[in-house]
């Protein structure tokens, strides 16, 4: 007997483990049948999960923490049952902002602190000349994309109020930057690569240059459903882990990337997926390996710190405790990697307040 599990997802490379679990029948081996449904917005995923139109969702990890804190105005908290990967975003800028940054860069251009200091000069000059503030787009108020932009600004000691942060749906990023409505964006794959290929943007930094092993997407369940039937969310988590362990093996790399690219469509190719995972020998941006599916309370607390820094929630111990319970690690799962900040220090959950100085 298999149990049908209706899973909604956004068409992004980091939904890949769900595609692979279904295609290689890791879901069946855990007694489930994944029915995957693409959606157009994070808001839609959240609503449909809350209303029981789907059973589980590919969800922004910070949105799950926000729901645990009651920040999304919803009386339906979510939990994270398994991570769907780590990292994966990148900051891209328009060719004109890219050129302006290069003219001011002093040092290693792959260091986000170096580019952020150059950006700080540009921001100050524009303000002095009365030019409109630069605009950067992310994907959702509670998203690592939003916080990674803020981390980059922080690395250059730029006041976030000195630029405009806005939301643009990923399929509209290319047209928005080409039309001059935004000057840069932080988005997940395949959108950076697609925009760079069409020449309207250049990838400036993969976000793992700002923070490595940052929680990104999780498989979310309504807390109520996960409490009533924990075996379902556990089985789904195991299926995802098996897909990751399978994909990790060298002999499966090609098929893994093909399965993901095929399901994504919209111009995504196996080569693009392979490049983001570092299979082609380049530096990986995105982790979809078995260890990257592990969850920890420390990850949830890190996302809480990012929310505090963005002014979305108060820095209280009660909130920190509530946030730390948003992810439900699976017993016997690999240990989630610690989060490494720019400069090489690891995030210490016991000293979370000190991390606020990063911004």
């Amino acid at each position: 007997m298999t149990r049908l599990l209706r899973i909604s997802y956004m068409p992004l490379t980091d939904a890949g483990l769900l595609f692979v679990a279904a295609a290689k029948h890791f879901d069946r081996e855990e007694g489930l049948r994944f029915e995957l449904r693409p959606e157009a917005s994070w808001a839609n995923l959240r609503d449909k999960l809350a209303l029981g139109i789907c059973d589980a969702a590919h969800m922004l990890a910070p949105a799950v923490v926000a729901s645990a804190l009651g920040l999304d105005g919803f009386p339906a908290p979510m939990i994270g049952a398994v991570a769907l990967g780590l990292d994966g975003n990148a900051i891209s800028v328009s060719p004109s902002l890219g050129a302006a940054l290069r003219a001011k860069i002093f040092g290693d251009a792959s260091d986000p602190a170096v580019t952020a200091r150059a950006l700080a000069e540009i921001v100050a000059e524009r303000a002095a000349q009365g030019q409109p503030a630069l605009r950067f787009a992310h994907v959702f108020p509670f998203s690592s994309h939003h916080y990674q932009l803020r981390l980059w600004l922080g690395a250059g000691k730029i006041d976030p109020a000195a630029v405009r942060l806005t939301v643009t749906p990923p399929p509209l990023m290319e047209a928005s930057i080409a039309g001059g409505y935004i000057d840069g964006f932080c988005v997940g794959e395949p959108w950076n690569t697609l925009a760079q290929r069409s020449g309207v943007a250049e990838v400036l930094h993969p976000c793992c240059a700002l923070v490595r092993d940052c929680p990104e997407k999780v498989l979310a369940f309504p807390r109520e459903a996960a409490t009533l039937e924990p075996e379902i969310s556990h089985a789904a988590a195991r299926a995802v882990q098996r897909a990751a362990a399978w994909g990790e093996r060298q002999e499966n790399h090609a098929e893994f990337c093909e399965l993901i690219a095929e399901k994504l469509g919209a111009g995504a190719t196996p080569e693009m997926v392979a490049a983001s995972l570092g299979h082609d020998g380049s530096a990986p941006w995105l982790r979809l390996d078995a260890q990257a599916t592990a969850l920890s309370g420390a990850q949830a607390l890190w996302l809480f710190v990012l929310m505090v820094a963005a002014g979305q929630v108060e820095a209280s111990d009660a909130n920190a405790e509530a946030a730390g319970k948003a992810f439900w690690p699976l017993d016997g799962a690999p240990v989630a990697p610690s989060i490494n900040l720019h400069g090489g220090t690891a995030f210490d959950p016991a000293k979370w307040r000190e991390s606020l100085a990063l911004f």
Binding site: A40, N44, F140, A175, Q312
Partner: protein, 196 residues
Amino acid sequence: MPDEKKLRIVIVDQNPLRTAILRDGLREAGYEQVLVVDTFLDLEVRLRAIDADIVLIDLENPSRDVLEQMIRISGAAARPVAMFADSSDSAMINAAIDAGVSAYVVDGLKKERVKTIVDLTVSRFNAFARLREELVAAQGQLADRKAIDQAKGLVMKAKNIPEEQAYAMMRKVAMNEGKKIAEIARSILTAAEFLR
């Protein structure tokens, strides 16, 4: 309620027909300030310039995430998603989902006032969906009739028989095979194309 009429309602939608149906419905109900935004680029700036009280948007529109951001940062008066924030009215929510409607309240409107507008939007979205179904059905019927006429012409010519007899033959084959006459007509057209 006189101030009801002053509500600024924005429809974010690229479908001109659906937009027209909804706008007319709202105007008939006495809402005077109904605006339409039909381009999604730079949406946050456009909506801020309009200073809307309520935004109506297709549930499946990717730009819903832009509205999530707007209501988040529009200050203390901001209310989250109108229809989903309060799940006490499940009938309204289900009707809205079936119709594919979502609504965002930008300032602190009372629930009853929002409900009136959402109910109206739901009925208009449904009316649009019915209209579209009828249109698709009408187009199908038109195409069927065209295929039948063409096939009939071919049969008349090939067998040198009058129109009524050709039609009767096609209808008989359709009945025997348990198919629609339009399907038989298309088979004839395909075969004729093949043998030409």
